[in-house]
């Protein structure tokens, strides 16, 4: 078997996320590339949570509908997912909870196992993992090694529960998980990779108000703040977040902030201030379905045009949408450099899928971080915060700097930073902002801002952006299609995009929104999407989903 998919499901509070990560790490030890999809409703206890862990010997960036193992902590986990079973799939469930299994499977009393081992009740999930590992022929030593690392407390009791699970399965083993040779990589969520990329870009501070699905960045950076010597602040609301961040930027500290669409609405005034006052900021905007509260814990790509246009007035908006683990890391480092060089707000556009999926991350494939430096005042002459410089870029100075008075301003201003309403000066300020955008556009064209995958010779191209890169690239490979992914969406790298589409006579855009926002964007730049495959049910495309949707448009 070249790949395996395992689904573990139960209620919120059953430790599904943790169990999924443990299963992912087991496969990791056996030489597989991992992709873990997490699905959970917006509640603390109850409901139905599940994780699908897909392990393959080649790189994968999407989940499949069918599963080889279905691990059920309750009745729902069987009832809701039995459609995913293949003929030889194996179902293992907690017989203390599941009273009327609707199909054949292996029921073991995991709740009783946990009680007997004097482990907390949540250790049922570890019992299920023990049983799964036994069924899949994963050596006990591997299981023990991973559990010792991953289980936070009562480790010996948990190991005992796992052992009982394993014993219970004896004689009923199924498809064996063979060892493969994919390099053993860290398994990291997209949010953690975005955070690590920001650190790689030289981050000094992170400011955020919690909002799903961006909160993982806040939690991760708060945890490593001392280690990386950064400041992490959680203020009273998103308005304070983006304003406080500008205080950091004014004082010369590289700062990022994170939110989702609702919080970003509150940040619109701050975006505009950063545009006018020329404050470098990185805003991580992790999308979820709207409008309004929408569907908080699910996924969407419906804020592209909002991100490109947030804030009153006309000023440069840099919008970058990484699509996989390596891009998340490289581009979050790169955007810090770009925001500081051009003194602009840069938006790192993610979504629930990219943010909360766990990926095998190979840092060796993520070395392409260009060294982009800010323009710093050389100390000569009188300092002017908004001095006209090359490409409209004014040299930066940060207080306290004897001899330099640093005046930032939200009003239209003179080079000195003092307010002006003079008609010529107003145009000078606006022209300066536009010159910066033009310089940024040229720089974006020089970077790897459009990526291609699949069959580069194919005359049919799938157009995708953000988290749909993974599923599109896999199908491009499988079906012999070209896949074109603009990573930078604003300013749009039109020349690179044109180059990527050379020889293409049919384009199909793949998006998780209802109106085709990428299709709309490229039309503005003179390109056309012949077909659009749109999904807006809050769930990401599985490989099977997209494959059948491609057949519908005759590909």
């Amino acid at each position: 078997m070249d790949e395996s998919s395992v689904l573990i499901g139960g209620k919120a509070g059953d430790g599904i996320t943790e169990a999924g990560m443990i299963i992912a790490r087991l496969f990791n030890k056996l030489g597989y590339c991992l992709y873990q999809y997490l699905d959970y409703p917006s509640l603390i206890r109850g409901g139905h949570n599940f994780a699908i862990i897909r392990a393959a010997e080649k790189k994968v960036g999407a989940h499949r509908d069918e599963v080889d193992y279905l691990l059920a902590l309750n009745q729902d986990a069987i009832d809701l997912h039995k459609w995913r079973l293949k003929e030889n799939s194996i179902v293992i469930y907690d017989s203390d909870e599941v009273k009327s299994p609707s199909m054949e499977g292996i029921g073991l009393p995991f709740k009783t196992f946990a009680e007997e081992a004097k482990a907390p009740k949540i250790a049922r999930n570890v019992g299920l993992i023990g049983a799964f590992a036994g069924a899949a022929g994963i050596e006990e030593e591997v299981v023990e090694e991973v559990l010792r690392k991953e289980v936070p407390k009562s480790v010996d009791e948990n190991l005992e529960v796992a052992r009982r699970g394993r014993q219970g399965i004896e004689g009923r083993e199924g498809m064996k998980v063979e060892r493969r040779s994919y390099p053993c990589c860290p398994v990291v969520t997209g949010n953690e990779l975005l955070a690590l990329g920001l650190l790689r870009g030289g981050l000094d501070a992170y400011v955020a108000y919690p909002m799903t699905p961006s909160s993982g960045i806040l939690h991760f950076l708060a945890k490593v703040a001392d280690e990386f010597s950064i400041k992490v602040v959680h203020p009273e609301n998103e308005i304070a977040v983006i304003l406080m961040a500008q205080g950091f930027a004014y004082a010369g500290k590289k700062v990022a902030l994170g939110t989702s669409g609702g919080g970003f609405c509150l940040m619109a005034e701050g975006m505009s201030l950063a545009g006018m006052a020329e404050m470098p900021l990185v805003v991580v905007l992790s999308q979820r379905p709207g409008p309004s509260t929408g569907v908080p814990t699910y996924t969407a790509q419906s804020d592209l045009h909002f991100a490109m246009n947030a804030g009153q007035g006309e000023f440069p908006h840099l919008v970058v949408a990484p699509g996989d683990a390596e891009q998340a890391f490289c581009w979050s480092a790169t955007i810090v450099g770009l925001a500081w060089k051009y003194q602009i707000p840069g938006i790192l556009l993610s979504d629930k899928t990219l943010s909360e999926t766990a990926y095998s991350f190979n840092i060796e494939e993520a070395r392409d971080v260009p060294d982009i430096k800010p323009v710093i005042w050389d100390g000569g002459g009188e300092y002017e915060r908004y001095a006209p410089g090359d490409d409209g870029i004014s040299p930066l100075a940060f207080p306290p700097r004897p001899g330099a008075v640093v005046k930032a301003n939200s009003y239209s201003h003179l080079a000195s930073g003092i307010t002006t309403e003079d008609p010529r000066e107003i145009e000078t300020v606006q022209d300066k902002l536009l010159r910066k955008e033009e310089g940024l556009r040229r720089e974006v064209e020089r970077l790897a801002s459009v990526r291609t995958y699949g069959d580069g010779g194919s005359s049919t191209a799938l157009l995708c952006w953000g988290s749909n890169k993974g599923v599109s690239a896999e199908l491009g490979e499988e079906l012999g299609l070209r896949v074109v992914q603009p990573v930078v969406l604003n300013p749009f790298p039109a020349n690179r995009f044109r180059e990527a589409l050379r020889g293409v006579d049919r384009t199909v855009s793949v998006e998780t929104n209802s109106t085709g926002q990428l299709a709309r964007l490229i039309r503005y730049h003179g390109f056309e999407a012949d077909d659009s495959i749109l999904k807006y049910d809050g769930r990401p495309f599985s490989v099977d989903d997209l494959e059948s949707r491609l057949k519908e448009v005759a590909i």
Partner: protein, 284 residues
Amino acid sequence: MKPQDLATGAENTWCPGCGNFAILNAIKPVLADLDEEGLIPVENVVMVSGIGCHAKIADYVNANSFYAVHGRTIPVATGIKLANPDLTVICFAGDGDAYAEGLDHLIFAAKRNVDITTIIHDNRVYGLTTGQYTPTSPSGFKGRSTPSGLEVPPINPLEIVFASGGTFVGRGYSHGIDLLKDIFRSAILHRGFSFVDVLQVCVTFFNMYDYYNQRVYPLEDHDPLDRARAQEEMKEWDYNSDGPIPLGVFFKKDAATFGDNFKKFNSRKTDLEASIRKTLEGYI
């Protein structure tokens, strides 16, 4: 450093007789003195202003400044202070600015006891938008949005900041520059969140000079460390009744400030990639 060294070439557009001049003319000598005395070099000062007549002060003082947006002086100032604790950060905000648009930030700054100073140009009317009520306008106030008289009483900002945990609470008046200078100086030198509400008269839309002149008096024999007394004095005038109106430093307290526990940036990583690799090892 002389106060006149802090002038800029910007044309002053406040109305003749505007109370903002008093604040400008008090802050410049205070900053100049603090620089002269070696207490706070002027290049370490950052002024943050909001939007409204008050905010033009950023254009009129030749010091570092961030002319921000309406209601948002405090979060900007907090960010600057956290980024570099060596800076002395002073917010200049209006009453509409700090008590309406940005009240949440004021309460949180007081709660955190962040080491910044906030000076409120409290003229109790919106000036730049030409005469509407603010959170400190008295009930019955006839403004352009409340032509038949404001139905609700004002807030007492001193009590709000005190209740929220601010560790320096004062009130000034745009007549009597010496007292104003004294209050500003002690507010700036206080370590913690310092708050000064300045009764600053808008001659055009709400001229209260006569009213205030008859009612203000400086606090005497008052110990600002006496919490209970401080609270009594704050309650003496509720911004609605007819006074008397005490001026001075009502309350002062030493307390830990926000960000004390943050590590300094000087332990910056030299090899970021190695640190990142080390962190990633935990994820295998």
